[in-house]
């Protein structure tokens, strides 16, 4: 992590072991971690410590994690990372639609957690958003609406570019199907996932070195897509 004041994080999880683990991993990486065990305490703490990001377990003893998120979003836009278990795609989608920024499925690896954390923290620094984003051989010039591969300009259709732009803006973070469909094709197309699949396939063909095993335009099972920078 970069120098300067340590970014404050709030972890809301009732599992002591997970808490200890998260604290250890995050503190080692240079975060200032506060932990609480219930949703109520969590909501109270947010106002007091004003964290830069929150890690929220969806399965809390006192109240539904989704409910915590909903109440939080009534007054705060602090980035939230959701912890969940496998087979809970619907819960994840609901949480992302409610305003969560990303999710992590248990069991997870520490380095995955740190990568997600860094990606969602970047959202808060939108002011310093670079005009040009690079991943692999690809360079996306958001100001100039240009995409280059090893310096050579690629031709993308308007919709292809629109899909790519959303992924680039949320790079490192998951974007749900619905979110992309709504932004690119309008609210009536929210269920037309095959449009999106078709455009992602086009984009992979143009951007990936090996489109069949993409390393940048990643599919998130049943949830959406994620642009990986490395």
């Amino acid at each position: 992590m970069t120098a300067g004041p340590k970014p404050r994080l709030l972890v809301i999880d009732d599992e002591v072991q997970i808490l200890r683990l998260l604290c250890h991993a995050l503190e080692t990486d240079g975060f200032d971690v506060h932990a609480v065990k219930t949703g109520k305490q969590g909501l109270g703490e947010v106002a007091v410590i004003q964290p830069e990001a929150i890690i929220l377990d969806l399965g809390l003893p006192d109240m539904d994690g989704l409910e915590v998120l909903r109440r939080l979003r009534e007054w705060s836009q602090v980035p939230v990372l959701i912890l969940t278990v496998r087979n809970a795609e619907n819960d994840v989608i609901a949480a992302l639609d409610t305003g969560a920024d990303d999710y992590l499925t248990k069991p997870f690896r520490a380095r995955e957690l740190l990568a997600r954390m860094r990606a969602i923290l970047r959202r808060n620094r939108a002011a310093s958003e670079p005009a040009v984003v690079r991943f692999g051989e690809i360079e996306v010039d958001l100001a100039g609406h240009l995409v280059r591969r090893s310096g050579e300009e690629l031709h993308l259709s308007a919709k292809e570019y629109a899909v790519l732009r959303i992924l680039v803006q949320h790079r490192g973070r998951v974007v749900t199907h619905r979110q992309i469909l709504r932004e690119v094709w309008g609210p009536n197309a929210e269920l037309q996932t095959h449009y999106l699949r078709a455009y992602i396939a086009h984009l992979r063909n143009k951007l990936e070195t090996n489109p069949r095993t993409p390393i940048h335009l990643k599919t998130e099972s049943g949830i959406g897509y994620r642009l990986m920078e490395d």
């Binding site: 599992e15 683990l21 278990v85 496998r86 087979n87 069991p107 690896r109 520490a110 449009y195």
Partner: protein
């Protein structure tokens, strides 16, 4: 007024007046045809007057009304002395726009001699209704014949009573002085009026004529002679005859009306009792028992009831009631159920049966059959059949209500059990996953610590955790399948994505093996639940790794079946293959092949089949060409529409 050719008017109700005539069937058929052409519903109306019907007439009427029912018409029977008024009343109640009646051709040319017909009356009362008169041939029997026929129906005992009373009165009167002959006439009149309370129309008319003649013969001058001396006596005779006739006929009509009234009352009471009996029933069996008891009591029959089976498409095998139908009778009952119309005795189909079977129909849906058995020779009257029909409707309503109640109860229980399962799954899932998450993440941390041999140990921990995690996942998936809590979320999936996701999830276990991935270029998207299908493919890959020697190749293939009806995914290996006799067994829970390496619970294939079946697909086990086993998944396929052009 039109003479025939019923036009196909706009929808609405069509009414046909049916009477005890040989032409009634023709009328019913015309009405049916006209209603079908117009797409309208139709009602056959019979107006019961005080006139009692002969056996022949009753039979004709029964046939016509039965035909009307069979052709899909509604049958309405009303009681009224005024046929035209009753027809108009029914027409107004049913909002009928057209009335069809039959009318014999006129032989009498002289207009003023012609009797006013029903059509004339109807037109007078209701000019708004379209009236169609269907000409029919004159009835083969004259009205007079019909009257005599109806007279002859009275019991011989009534005639005996009439003769006895007249004889007694005459005997008593002969003891009086001859000058009291006017009073004798009055006594006779009293006798006739009293008799008319007990006997029918025929005997009472006979009594009127007989007493008049007796009076003339015995009491009027000249005595013991049928002639009359004084013209005053002649007037007396004529007036006596007229008063006797009118008084007796009026009384007879009132009696008939009272009789009809009583029948109606009985019918209403029977229906009331019936519906009360049904209302108290809590289960179908109780409802059946109540219905059987009530019908046996009301109609003096033996009764049986059978309900539709679980699916509601065929008649269940269990009959409840006061008799159990034979196989032959069951055929009739089944036909009644299937055709949704009466069958068995008194009908055209299975007429040789002893029982008469009425389907329990509501909104064109049959809920069961009601059967009644009468002793040989006993017939069901029209009124009784009507009543039975009403019983059947009531019972159908009760059955429907009971079924709906049961369904909503079941739905509620299912929802509750699903909720419970979900809560349980969530908490078990949480409890089991948490320590695993800790182990996995900690081993990651440890990997960074430089301890000699540490990396290998960490790898061991990680592999153990992964295996445990997979095991837990399988157990939870199996529970999910069995609890019925699995609701696939079908969506368009890129097959390449599915294969990639599965391969990367199984990558650690497959390390060291040659992995062949075949996904056709431009393979269309498939409609599937991404997570479930991915899980299935992961299970197949892990199974292949577990059951084949290390370092043997594994292949994963996607494609569309020739014909384009199904998408397929298959995982093949170069291991020992499946023993043919064990293939079906392997899908069972905890089943493991002979050659299975130690490890694994044997849940893999059971989950694979469950997840694929939930998405409407199938799984088949086969041999991999060139040796080894191959498992193929088939999913229903149809091509997605293209995205709109930009």
């Amino acid at each position: 007024m039109r003479q025939s050719n019923i036009p196909s008017g706009p929808g609405g109700c069509l009414l046909v007046a049916v009477g005890p005539s040989p032409h009634a069937e023709k009328l019913v058929r015309s009405a049916h045809r006209a209603a079908t052409l117009a797409g309208a519903s139709w009602v056959a109306v019979y107006v019961e007057t005080s006139q009692r019907l002969s056996k022949t007439a009753q039979q004709l009427l029964d046939q016509a009304l039965t035909l009307a029912r069979e052709l899909g018409g509604e049958v309405v029977i009303v009681h009224d002395a005024d046929v035209a008024a009753a027809l108009v009343r029914v027409a107004q109640e049913r909002k009928a726009a057209q009335i069809i009646i039959g009318q014999p051709g006129r032989r009498c040319r002289l207009r003023w001699l012609r009797r006013r017909t029903l059509a004339d009356y109807l037109l007078k009362i209701t000019p708004n209704v379209e009236l169609h008169v269907i000409p029919v041939d004159a009835p083969p029997a004259s009205r007079l014949w019909l009257r005599f026929d109806s007279m002859a129906r009275s019991d011989w005992r009534e005639y005996a009573l009439v003769f006895g009373v007249i004889a007694a009165l005459t005997g008593g009167a002969m003891l009086l002085p001859k000058t009291y002959y006017v009073q004798v006439g009055l006594v006779y009149l009293l006798g006739i009026n009293l008799l008319s309370l007990r006997v029918g129309r025929g005997p009472i008319l006979t009594a009127g004529v007989l007493t008049a003649l007796t009076w003339d013969y015995i009491f009027a001058q000249p005595y013991y002679h049928f002639s009359i001396e004084h013209w005053q006596d002649l007037v007396l005779f004529v007036i006596y005859l007229a008063v006797a006739m009118i008084a007796s006929l009026l009384t007879a009509r009132i009696r008939a009306q009272a009789h009809n009234e009583r029948l109606r009352q009985e019918r209403a009471t029977a229906l009331f009792q019936f519906s009360r009996g049904l209302a108290e029933a809590k289960t179908l069996a109780e409802a059946a028992a109540a219905a059987v008891r009530q019908i046996d009591e009301t109609l003096g029959t033996q009764t049986t009831v059978a309900f539709a089976d679980e699916g509601g498409h065929s008649l269940g095998p269990d009959f409840h009631g006061s008799y159990l139908p034979s196989e032959r009778e069951k055929v009739a009952a089944t036909r009644a159920f299937g055709d949704r119309r009466v069958a068995g005795r008194f009908t055209e189909s299975e007429a040789d049966c002893a029982g008469y079977y009425v389907p329990l129909v509501r909104d064109d849906h049959a809920f069961g059959v009601l059967g009644v058995k009468l002793p040989a020779g006993v017939k069901l009257s029209l009124g009784q059949r009507d009543l039975l029909d009403a019983f059947a409707r009531q019972l159908a309503l009760t059955v429907e209500r009971t079924l709906l109640r049961a369904a909503s109860e079941r739905e509620r229980m299912l929802a509750e059990s699903e909720k419970l399962h979900r809560v349980l799954l969530d908490s078990v899932s949480h409890e089991l996953r948490t320590p695993l998450a800790v182990i996995t993440a900690t081993s990651d941390e440890l990997a960074d610590v430089n301890v000699p041999g540490g990396a290998e140990m960490v790898a061991e921990i990680r592999e153990a955790a992964q295996r445990l995690n997979h095991l837990v996942a399988n157990l939870l998936d199996q529970t999910r399948l069995e609890s019925g809590a699995l609701r696939p979320h079908l969506d368009w999936c890129d097959p390449q994505d599915l294969v990639n996701a599965a391969v990367s999830a199984a990558a650690d276990t497959l390390s060291g093996r040659a992995l062949e991935i075949v996904v056709p270029e431009r393979m269309p998207f498939v409609r599937a639940d991404f997570a479930l299908t991915e899980q299935v493919l992961v299970n197949l890959l892990l199974n292949a790794a577990l059951h084949t020697p290390p370092n043997t190749p594994v292949s994963i293939t996607a494609g569309i079946e020739p014909g384009g009806q199904r998408a397929l995914f298959s995982v093949g290996d170069r291991g020992p293959g499946f023993p043919p006799d064990l293939r079906e067994e392997l899908f069972k829970k905890f089943a493991r092949g002979h050659a299975a390496a130690p490890g694994g619970l044997g849940l893999g294939l059971s989950i694979v089949r469950g997840f694929i079946a939930a998405q409407g697909g199938e799984v088949s086990l086969g041999d991999n060409p060139g040796g080894g086993a191959k498992i193929t998944l088939y999913l229903p396929h149809f091509a997605p529409e293209n995205p709109p052009p930009e």
